[in-house]
């Protein structure tokens, strides 16, 4: 304790020297600490990157639950790294924990609200959490967000992902609204054009679809997909003749394609049932009309939602009576007209009932829809 006794008052020189030494120590320590902090930062970044790589490998191996832990370890070191946060979120979503993903992405999006990739991850997480409306909102933020590198391609990919979602939901108006900006793309590739055209059909805009398919065919007349697509678009517009022509051409180019064959068969069936085609003999027109009326009756019978106390039952009775009446050579055209009228009325009254799965019924439905239009 000798040092604890009252220290002698230091001379001014000692005071000044001590003061200078302390200031020197401050400077030296600052340099040393900055160096150490740099080493620490680099080591931390390196370790975080290693954990991130491990997580990515685990994701690729289909082990998202383990990947979550690796990504979390990376994020614990580099807390502000958006990629690591997205890694945790995407892995958590893949592991069936979308709520965890949303929780991780929340702070990231608070910091970086315009981060396109983070918004996309959030959209996917919300979609997995069945919050589709919010998911759509985040898809939009992702589309208009900032993307590193090729932002156009990234935004297009997000929009197409959103488009697929909307097509799956059957949101035709929203789908069309997302498809239209894709038309402004410069030099879009064939695959994108084809996909966009098919989606136009899903969005209820077969005219635009046909236009795109025609553009594709101008580039390559032997594009079987475009021919089939154009046939589909024409069919959707009720142009079954043109549809048949294009589908047959597509079928010739790609003989074994079951999808094209099925579409062609459907169009053939519609055309076989259509009583309005030009050049049909009166007897044939009456036969087709009777077939349509019969299909309408079957559909109305199978419809549980058809109102029993409406005008439908007497109309159906009268239709059955007319079908039971033998065909005569005279008045075939009038009979055909009458049957078509009744078929249309019955079809209109059963609106809202579920569609029948039978191919003939579906074909009849298409013809009746066409007649109504």
């Amino acid at each position: 304790m000798s040092d604890a006794t009252a220290p002698p008052a230091a001379s001014t020189r000692t005071f000044l020297v001590t003061f200078t030494l302390v200031l020197g120590a401050v400077f030296a320590l600052f340099v040393f600490d900055t160096f150490l902090a740099g080493v620490q930062r680099r080591a931390g970044a390196s370790e975080a990157a290693a954990r991130y790589r491990e997580g990515t490998a685990l994701m690729a191996a289909g082990r998202p639950a383990q990947a979550v832990e690796k990504f979390k370890a990376a994020l614990a070191i580099e807390r502000l790294d958006a990629d690591y946060a997205r890694g945790v979120a995407d892995a958590a979503r893949a592991a069936g924990r979308p709520a965890d993903a949303v929780q991780v992405l929340g702070p990231l999006l608070e910091r970086e609200p315009t981060n396109g990739a983070a918004n996309l991850s959030m959209a996917r997480a919300l979609l997995a959490a069945r919050d589709t409306d919010q998911a759509v909102s985040y898809y939009h933020r992702a589309i208009y967000g900032l993307w590193p590198g090729d932002a156009t391609a990234a935004r297009r990919a997000v929009r197409l992902e959103l488009v697929d979602l909307l097509a799956g939901r059957g949101s035709r108006q929203e789908l069309l609204a997302e498809l239209l900006p894709l038309e402004d793309e410069e030099n879009p590739d064939t695959a994108l054009q084809r996909r966009r055209a098919h989606l136009f059909i899903a969005a209820g805009s077969p005219e635009r679809a046909a236009q795109v398919f025609r553009q594709l065919l101008r580039r390559d007349r032997t594009d079987a997909d475009a021919l089939a697509g154009l046939g589909q678009a024409e069919a959707a517009q009720g142009n079954y003749g043109s549809a048949q022509t294009h589908l047959m051409a597509a079928s010739r180019l790609r003989a074994g394609d079951a999808a094209i064959a099925a579409q062609l068969a459907q169009v053939d069936r519609v055309r076989d049932m259509d009583p309005t085609l030009r050049g049909l003999a009166p007897a044939e027109r009456r036969r087709r009309s009777a077939m349509l009326l019969g299909a309408a009756l079957v559909a109305a019978d199978r419809c549980p939602a058809a109102p029993a106390d409406s005008a439908l039952p007497p109309l159906m009775d009268s239709a059955r009576a007319e079908l039971a009446r033998p065909a005569r050579a005279v008045g075939l055209a009038a009979a055909a007209e009458g049957m078509m009228d009744r078929a249309e009325q019955i079809w209109a009254m059963r609106e809202g009932c579920p569609e029948d799965g039978n191919a003939d019924q579906r074909a009849a439905a298409l013809v009746l829809d066409k007649l109504r239009e």
Partner: protein
């Protein structure tokens, strides 16, 4: 014209002569030096730990490293640097209160390097206590080298401790409060300004080097339902009980280690190393201070059984590591234990009341403060510290509820605070924050007695003396035309009678109770004054009894407090019969 060195000399001399300016400069300087040293301590410990435990290292390292670390540091601590053992906070208090602020450079260096090695090897102790010791030591060394007086050096210690804690824990306000509440034991200490400046300087240095990163990143938590306060109260009870168990275990184990033969002193820390190593082999989160794990828990990454197990293991690991003589503190482990207990309570609450409680992370957060309040027993610091660590204001009310309950339960079960008890085991009798304020908590109201009927200031000297002799009183209240005036002492009356000076009445001998110029410094006390104030004023007035007057009107006499009654309050003698009204 004077030369530059001459001007410099004069400036230095002037600085040395002006205490306020010197205090300001020293606060800035100590804040910067201590902040940088503590940052170096944190970074060196981290780098060393990264080398001892490289990523994906084998499990045997988790046993070997703490055992070897404890053996090496234990040998140095036992043979060469006994002053560097333990936390450093009791040692700092001892330096401040007993050793005139003396901490040797040797102890500072040993504390720095040995704690660095010990903590990096995985010993389950914290860095804050050692940082406080190092910070205080640096202040002491600088103060002595600058030729300051012993008193000045003494008051530099809290300046160093607040700078150290601000850097070690990234909590500048809590650092100030801790220095005042625990180290000095007086929230109104005259060094408050210097303590604040050094803390702020140190914090700025920390941010300059390491950036603006809080110690823990926590999601924003809110009180989901007012009824949740009940669950936080339960957390307070659990935290209080857990704290008491931890402190009792630590103190009990330490006594047993101290009873072992002195030749085993160097070997004892290895017991702590082995204990934490074996635990860490199976559950690595037990190793070290565990701030990473706390961060995970605070963000709701909780598995109920794991957090409960971690709380139990950490209590044992820290108690054994500390008791066996390793270098390191209990500050950080307290937070770990609290976070785990909080996580457990929160997890159970979520199971019982799903949808009606905040996430378990919120309870872990409050649990940290709860355990700190229970173990370290600085309730104000614990609230502010958690607020600063998390930067989340919304949790403050549950935190206060929980902390106070834990504080009272812990104080009931373990009356002597941990740092005080540790010092007592070392043979040092340091006052804790609680014991220091004990005398301040006893108000005059508790010991005052009814006042006798005052004498009129026109009473003749002989009559007054006769009255006082009759009652056996040393002083008597006197009233004038405007009401109560003050006290007249028996000695003064006897003196006046003997000398024949001062007039025929007692009017000129009255010690006025209230001086209109300085109303608070007169020969009186108020009922809410601490008895210590009464003693001081009795001494200043030379009276063995003081009037107790109303704060509303100093001429309103409420009672009398006598020296005998004050002594009786401390257990010295018995008070006179209060009913008699004797003075």
């Amino acid at each position: 014209m004077r030369s530059l060195p001459d001007l410099l000399w004069r400036a230095v001399d002037r600085l040395r002569g002006r205490e306020d300016q010197l205090a300001l400069v020293l606060s800035l300087m100590i804040g910067a030096v201590v902040g940088l040293v503590v940052v170096a301590f944190i970074l060196l410990t981290g780098r060393l730990a990264a080398h001892i435990y490289p990523a994906g290292s084998a499990g045997w390292r988790r046993i070997a490293a703490p055992v070897l670390g404890a053996l090496i540091t234990g040998w140095f601590l036992a043979r060469h640097f006994p002053g560097a053992r333990g936390s450093g906070i009791p040692q700092t208090k001892a330096a401040l209160l007993i050793e005139d602020g003396f901490i040797s450079m040797r102890t500072v260096l040993a504390k720095f390097f040995l704690c660095c090695g010990s903590l990096a090897s995985g010993i389950a102790l914290g860095r804050e206590g050692p940082s406080v010791h190092v910070g205080a030591g640096i202040s002491s060394v600088i103060g002595r080298r600058l030729g300051l007086t012993r008193e000045q050096v003494r008051w530099l210690l809290p300046v160093g401790t607040s700078a150290a804690l601000a850097a070690a824990f990234n909590t500048p306000i809590a650092a100030v409060l801790f220095s005042l509440e625990e180290i000095i034991g007086d929230l109104h200490a005259p060094v408050l300004g210097s303590v604040v400046i050094s803390s702020a300087t140190s914090w700025m240095v920390l941010h300059l080097v390491l950036g603006d990163e809080p110690l823990f990143h926590v999601a924003a938590y809110h009180l989901v339902n007012p009824a949740e306060l009940g669950i936080y109260a339960v957390l307070g009870i659990v935290g209080g009980l857990g704290s008491a168990v931890f402190v009792k275990l630590l103190l009990g184990l330490r006594l047993r280690f101290r009873a072992l033969p002195p030749r085993t002193l160097w070997l004892q820390p290895a017991v702590g190393g082995l204990t934490v190593g074996v635990m860490g082999y199976f559950i690595p989160q037990v190793l070290g201070v565990g701030y990473d794990e706390i961060g995970r828990i605070l963000n709701g990454d909780i598995i109920l059984r794991t957090v409960l197990l971690l709380a139990a293991l950490k209590i044992v690991a820290t108690a054994v590591c500390y008791a066996s003589g390793n270098a390191g503190g209990i500050f950080g482990p307290s937070l770990f234990i609290g976070a785990m207990l909080g996580g457990t309570v929160g997890g159970v609450a979520q199971l019982l009341f799903p949808g009606h409680t905040a996430g378990a992370g919120a309870y872990a957060l409050v649990g940290m403060g709860t355990a700190f309040a229970g173990i370290v027993r600085t309730p104000l610091t614990s609230v502010i510290m958690i607020f600063e660590v998390t930067r989340d204001y919304s949790i403050i009310v549950p935190l206060m509820v929980s902390n106070l309950i834990a504080f009272f339960i812990s104080a009931r079960l373990q009356p002597v605070p941990v740092y005080e008890a540790l010092a007592q085991q070392d043979g040092l009798h340091l006052p804790g924050a609680e014991s220091r304020s004990a005398s301040e908590r006893v108000p005059v109201r508790r010991v005052m007695r009814a006042a006798p009927a005052p004498l009129a200031d026109t009473t003749e000297l002989a009559d007054a003396l006769a009255r006082m002799r009759e009652a056996g009183a040393d002083a008597w209240p006197v009233a004038g035309r405007e009401g109560f005036r003050g006290m007249v002492g028996r000695d003064a009356v006897e003196g006046a009678l003997a000398s024949g000076e001062g007039g025929p009445t007692i009017a000129g001998l009255v010690r006025e109770a209230a001086d209109p110029g300085e109303p608070e410094s007169g020969a009186h006390v108020h009922p809410d004054h601490a008895i210590g104030v009464a003693l001081a004023r009795m001494g200043a007035a030379g009276l063995a009894a003081l009037p107790v007057v109303s704060r509303r009107n100093a001429r309103e006499l409420l009672g009398i407090v006598t020296l005998q009654d004050l002594l009786a309050e401390f257990g010295l003698g018995a008070p006179r019969d209060a009913r008699s009204g004797d003075v």
